[in-house]
Structures are given as C-alpha cells and as structure tokens.
C-alpha cells in the first residue's frame, strides 16, 4: 500500500461519511415533507448546513457534576466507530479503504463497541433522564446484537469466508437478499437500533426529553446527530454489500451500483422514522429474544443448507 493510497483511503472514507451523513439529513427532511403533505422547500437541501452552523454558534451547556472526559469522548467515539465500520466496506471490486481478510468481524466489532459511547453520553451528565436513556440502550444493545451478528454471519456461510470482498463475489447470479430472505430485514432492524433511529429510538426518545442528548447543545449535539447519521450510512453500505450484491450489476460501473444500493437502503432506514412509532423498551427486548434471535438462527441454518 503506497502512501498515496493510504492517505486516499482515509480521505475517501472521511468524504463518504460527510456526504453520507448530509444525505441522511436531507432525506430525512424530504421524507418528512412528503409525510406531512407539504411542498418541498429549499430548506431541505440547505437546512442541515444551517443546523450545523447553529451548532457552531451555540454555546455548550454543562451540568453540575458531569464526567467531562467521558462526555466529550461520547460523540467523537460514536462517529469514529461509524467511520471505522465503513472503512471495511468495498466500494467496488478494486476500491476498498481497508482490505482486511476478516472484514466482517471488524465491522461487527466496531458496531458492538458503539454501545459504549451511547452509554457514556447518557451516563456522563449526572442527570436522571439521560441516565435512564443510557441504561435503556444497554438493554436494547444486548437485544439487537445477536440478530445483527447472526445476520452478518449468515452471509459468510455461502461464501465460506469472512472477507467482505469474497461475500460480494459469492453473490454472482443470486443475491443474498433472495438466497437468505430473513437476513436483510434482521440486519436493517439491527441497523436502525444501532443508530437508535425512528421506531428504535429508545435511549433518546421524547419521553425522556431527548434522553442521552437531553443535556447537550451546540457542537456536541451536532456531532451526536452526525454520528447517528454516519452509523446509518455504514450499516446501509454493509447491507448493500452483504445482501444486495455490492458492486454486481449490469451496465453501470461497480461503484455506481454500490452507491445506488446503499442509497436505497438509506432511504428505507431514514423513512422508517416517519412511518413507524417508537416501540416500547420492554416489548422490544422480549420480541428480540423470543422472535428475532430464533429467526436469525434459522437464517443461519438456511444458509448452511443452501450452501451445501
């Protein structure tokens, strides 16, 4: 790997995160306008930039006895983990920021570590509503982690490899979304949960006055929102590679297919916020364990039988 390629990889992932997160914000506003039956305004495109500017202008609030270092780390680490997860997803057959043999494991690890910044963001301000949000997210994370990993694992079974490159290559002729029909829905459920987005927004819900972000303002809040958007981007990219055949497709160049498929999944994920109500914490846990994990195990079994 040359120095140019090394720097290019870092810049490329950074660019993808920034553009992707901005697209998430734009798509969110656009879908909200459609749902609310309003005309499309120019603020749909410019609105996210204005919100970022407000974050830069606004002061940062603090609480009486916060854990300052952990609080500062929370949004930074969350965003960093999203970027690290995105780095192992190939854009095309040859274009890949970090070519790791066991990319799937690294992706799963980055996602699993995301529990820590969310918990820290709620625990650090020493305030009751964010604290409840933090502990709620632990329950949520313990519940979505298994469906997430099992869904990822199921695509590595037909490929007999944990390399994302091989997993995409194994979908020649038949995409995993058809071969393993349970996989993509489970993966999207986990992706929305990981970014606590829309119906899965247990830690930052309105019943906790914003939950883990209830005590934050300014750039901290902007970084937190950007982190959630980046996490959606990373998950959508992985979903496109693992289930929708990645760069495979007729006509267009590989990277274009990858971008299109990622955008499709992003719109699905972002749109869920405007059509589905937030679920109850307890029911979320019970359904995850009693229904989704058995389904995920079944999905792995299907993968094994299909692959033989």
């Amino acid at each position: 790997m040359t120095a140019t390629a090394w720097w290019g990889a870092i810049a490329g992932v950074g660019l993808a995160i920034i553009v992707g997160a901005y697209l998430v914000a734009v798509a969110d506003r656009a879908i909200a306008s459609v749902v609310a039956g309003e005309p499309m305004r120019s603020s749909i495109l410019a609105g996210p930039a204005r919100s970022v500017a407000l974050g830069l202008v606004q002061s940062r609030t603090t609480t009486e006895r916060p854990d300052g270092a952990a609080w500062a780390l929370a949004p930074a680490l969350y965003l960093g983990l999203a970027a690290a997860a995105l780095a192992v997803v190939p854009l095309s057959e040859t274009l890949l920021a970090a070519d790791i043999e066991n990319g799937l494991v690294l992706f799963g690890a980055a996602q699993a570590l995301a529990v820590i910044p969310v918990f820290l963001n709620g625990w650090s301000p020493n305030s009751i509503l964010p604290l409840i949000g933090a502990f709620r997210f632990i329950a949520q994370a313990l519940s979505y982690e298994m469906p997430n990993l099992l869904a990822l694992l199921s695509v590595s079974v037909p490929a007999s490899s944990l390399s994302i490159h091989d997993i995409v290559a194994s979908q020649h002729g038949l995409w995993n979304v058809v071969r393993l029909p349970l996989g993509l829905p489970l993966f999207l459920f986990a992706a929305a949960s990981l970014a606590f987005w829309g119906p899965m927004n247990l830690p930052d819900g309105a019943d906790l006055a914003g939950g883990t972000q209830a005590e934050t303002s300014g750039l901290h809040l902007v970084a937190w929102r950007a982190g959630r958007a980046a996490m959606l981007v990373a998950a959508a990219a992985m979903g496109a590679a693992a289930f929708l055949g990645g760069w495979l497709g007729p006509g267009l160049p590989g990277w274009a297919w990858m971008v299109v498929k990622t955008l499709v999944l992003l719109v699905l994920l972002v749109g869920s916020r405007h059509v589905a109500a937030r679920v109850r914490a307890e029911r979320y846990v019970v359904i995850s364990w009693a229904v989704l994990i058995p389904l995920a195990l079944l999905n792995v079994m299907i993968a094994a039988v299909v692959a033989l």
Partner: protein, 119 residues
C-alpha cells in the same frame, strides 16, 4: 504487510475522527463563558434534583444480560464454523444444529419464565 497497512488505515480513521470532533468541540467552546450555577442544574422540567443521578441502577434486564453472555460465546464458535463448515461437510451442520438447538431451548425457557420483560 498488506493486512497491517489496512489496519493502520482503520486506526487512522478512528483516531482522526475522534481527534477532529474533540478539536472542533474545543475550538467551538473556547469563547463560552463559564456556566453559572443555575445553568448547570440538570434538566427535569424546571425543578432542581434532590440527589445526584448516579446510583446503583436497578437494571432489571440482568437475566437477559446473562443469556446474552451465553450467546456471545456462541458467536465465537460460529465465526470459524462459518468458514470451515464446507470442508467439514454435513457433520459440521449437524453439530452446529445440535448446539443451536440447545441454546434456543434456553431462550424458550427464559421466555416461558417471563424473565425477559421487567415492568
């Protein structure tokens, strides 16, 4: 060496993201005045809290958390299994099936005992 370079890319991305956010946070807050006492009171609708929020939190999902540990260990076995099962053939499928069934029985038992919910 290829793998090392790839890992260094990931570490650099993780590190630079964290550094950028922290630097931006520091720059943006440089001009902030120190917060006054009422500005620092945690929000719960207008009244000050009686006690610190940090406490020995009663996490009611601890049974589920224990169940999670079992399954997390299971994943450690399943990742290598996914790579080698083709060369091992049907025996590997049979083995993992038995393994998963036993774990799934555990879920069923926890569910029947209503130890997944908490309110």
């Amino acid at each position: 060496m290829v793998a090392l370079a790839a890992f260094s890319v990931i570490l650099a991305i993780l590190g630079s993201s964290i550094a950028l956010v922290l630097a931006g946070r520091w720059v943006a807050a440089r001009a902030d005045l120190p917060a006054t006492a009422p500005e620092r009171v945690p929000f719960s609708g207008g009244l000050p809290p009686e006690v610190h929020a940090w406490n020995r939190f009663h996490a009611r999902y601890y049974v589920m958390a224990l169940l999670f540990l079992t399954f997390d260990m299971e994943m450690v076995y399943m990742f290598p299994w996914a790579v080698v099962f083709r060369s091992e053939g049907t025996v590997a499928i049979g083995e993992i099936f038995v393994f998963i069934s036993i774990l799934a029985l555990g879920i069923l038992y926890a569910w029947r005992e209503r130890s997944l919910g908490w309110s």
